[in-house]
């Protein structure tokens, strides 16, 4: 929380956090098969803050991130970006998505494009940037994630860790105000996960605003201003890493942490 206040108030937007969820509800299916994935979620992410979502698979972490990126329509509640409710269907979703960046568990790189073209696609197509300037930016970001030598490679020629770093680079290209990370290391072995987590720690140190879903508790402890424990679509427990991870108050949290070992 301290880092959030360090970031200071943005001009014109005095106190509103960058992202606020209010009573977000999402169900899948209808009738008897209906399944409540998100059941009234309230959440704030201030600028330069990092909020980490933890919870077992199926607790709604991915759905929540996808909903923020407007890839899922929510049934009820508000998703406020700088105070504007972007869950309203009349809001320009493409404009909202251009301000956010979602990194997927399975990378979702475009297999038919080289790494460099994966990075420059959105700048060229969405922002109509000329190729040379888009590529100059892309090269700068590739250098940051340590993939300069892989710019000409196709995604399936990269290791899993390199693919995920390329996906993170692609997400960073537009200079997003908020980085959404959906279990970005769970498809990787510990060594490859380590190189991705190091990159995320570096981004965090630069003050990148993040909303992260992860199973890596050590990483969560390192980056989180707030940890939110999701259980069956509800926020079961929340607080600083010390509060939630070291002194959990609820049985479900304790059980979850015990199973992670």
């Amino acid at each position: 929380m301290s880092r959030a206040s360090d970031g200071g108030a943005r001009p014109g937007k005095p106190d509103a956090p960058l992202l606020s969820l209010r009573g977000v509800r999402k169900t899948f299916g209808t009738g008897a098969g209906q399944h409540v994935v998100l059941d009234g979620i309230d959440l704030d992410v201030a600028e330069h803050q990092c909020v980490v979502l933890v919870g077992s698979s199926g607790s709604g972490k991915s759905t929540l991130l996808r909903a923020v990126d407007l890839l899922e329509e929510i049934d009820d509640g508000q998703i406020l970006l700088d105070g504007e409710d972007v869950a309203n269907p009349w809001v320009d979703a493409n404009a909202v998505r251009a301000r956010l960046a979602l990194v997927f568990q399975q990378y979702n790189l475009f297999p038919h494009l080289r790494v460099l073209d994966n990075l420059t696609l959105a700048p060229r197509v969405v922002h109509r940037r000329p190729r040379p300037s888009a590529e100059a930016d892309a090269h700068a970001i590739l250098e940051k994630v340590g993939l300069t030598h892989r710019a000409r490679a196709y995604p399936d020629q990269l290791s899993g860790g390199e693919q995920q770093r390329a996906a993170i680079a692609r997400a960073l290209v537009g200079g997003p105000e908020l980085l959404l990370l959906d279990e970005v290391t769970s498809a990787l072995d510990p060594a490859l996960a380590g190189e991705v987590l190091d990159l995320l720690l570096a981004l965090r140190a630069e003050g990148t605003t993040m909303l992260v879903a992860t199973h890596e508790m050590r990483f969560a402890r390192q980056v989180a201003d707030e940890i939110v424990f999701l259980h069956e679509g509800r926020i079961h427990e929340r607080g600083t890493p010390t509060q939630v991870l070291d002194h959990p108050q609820r049985d479900a949290t304790r059980e979850f942490l015990r199973r992670l070992g």
Binding site: L71, N94, A98, N108, P111, A171
Partner: protein, 319 residues
């Protein structure tokens, strides 16, 4: 044979036991310097024997089958007459120029029909998968079109187009048999190609669209930049085999009277009841279609390069 095989395996097994640890050979040397252990050598020798035996069996089987075919055909009561009527070398040389000239028409029809079919087919597939409300009537049209032209035999379409359209007496409509025949083929093949392209579009995993939309691309931009390139790659092989089939079916325009290779051969057979021209036409078609299929196979094998990711999760799925 199976006795030998078992023996071989037993021998290798005994070998392994008597020499203990098979790795001992490699341990002493520096990295990379490897002498195969006795176990490895026994396995290699066994595999080599098996391969030789397989080659031998294949050769013997081929000789037996070919010999049987030749025997049956040459001993047939009508073989002498059939040989003269179908395989007369001098008749073949005589008719070659006419049949080859006819084949040139087939090739032109094939190329034009391929280009038009590919473009319109892709367009129909995109229309059919689009969700733009204004395009709804076109979407309906695409569905109806594919249903009709895939459901009616090509021969019937040929006859309807070939004899029906000229009956309208439209002054601007060319009524040459080659044009009308080509049109009928395009109508049918476009429907098939549209379905193949649609399957390709649907084989691209939704997560690819999600990634594109997440980057701010509109639905249309995502389709054009992300979905279609992958969709087309995914269906190169079936599309190519469709084009090979189209090359053969270009011969069907002969029923409308266009003088293609088949029609030229037919004309050459009238009078003397020598059917060698048909064989000549068949060989000419093979001369085109066999290299074409090989080319397509080689090309789609090379396409495998970008298919590895797909290979893991199965048909077109990238997750």
């Amino acid at each position: 044979m199976s006795d030998d095989a078992r023996e071989g395996r037993t021998a290798g097994h005994a070998d392994a036991r008597s020499h203990g640890d098979g790795r001992s050979h490699g341990d002493g040397g520096s990295q990379g310097a490897w002498t195969p252990s006795d176990i490895a050598r026994a396995r290699t020798a066994y595999r080599r024997t098996q391969r030789r035996r397989a080659l031998l069996v294949a050769a013997v089987a081929t000789v037996i089958v070919l010999g049987a075919v030749v025997l049956v055909v040459t001993n047939a009561p009508g073989w002498e007459r059939a040989r003269d009527a179908f395989f007369s070398p001098q008749r073949a040389v005589e008719v070659l120029p006419e049949v080859a000239a006819g084949l040139w028409l087939n090739l032109r029809v094939w190329i034009v029909a391929s280009v038009v079919g590919l473009i319109v087919g892709l367009l129909l597939a995109v229309l059919r998968t689009s969700r733009i409300p204004a395009l709804f009537p076109l979407r309906l049209f695409a569905i109806a079109y594919v249903d009709v032209f895939r459901g009616v035999p090509l021969l019937l379409i040929l006859l309807l187009v070939g004899f029906g359209l000229p009956a309208l007496r439209l002054p601007w409509l060319p009524v040459s048999a080659a044009f009308l025949g080509g049109l009928a083929i395009v109508l049918t093949y476009t429907a098939y190609l549209a379905e193949i392209f649609r399957a390709g579009i649907e084989s691209v995993h939704p997560s690819q669209v999600a990634a594109a939309r997440s980057l701010g691309l509109t639905r249309g931009q995502a389709v054009r930049r992300v979905v279609l390139p992958q969709a087309v790659r995914n269906v190169t092989a079936p599309v190519a085999s469709m084009l090979v089939a189209l090359q053969k079916d270009s011969g069907l325009i002969s029923i409308l009277g266009a003088v293609d290779a088949i029609r030229a051969a037919q004309i050459a057979t009238t009078g003397d009841y020598n059917f060698t021209p048909y064989v000549v036409a068949g060989v000419l078609f093979l001369l085109i279609s066999i290299p074409l299929t090989r080319l397509v196979d080689a090309w789609s094998a090379r396409q495998g390069w970008r298919g590895q990711m797909r290979g893991i999760a199965g048909a077109g799925a990238l997750r």
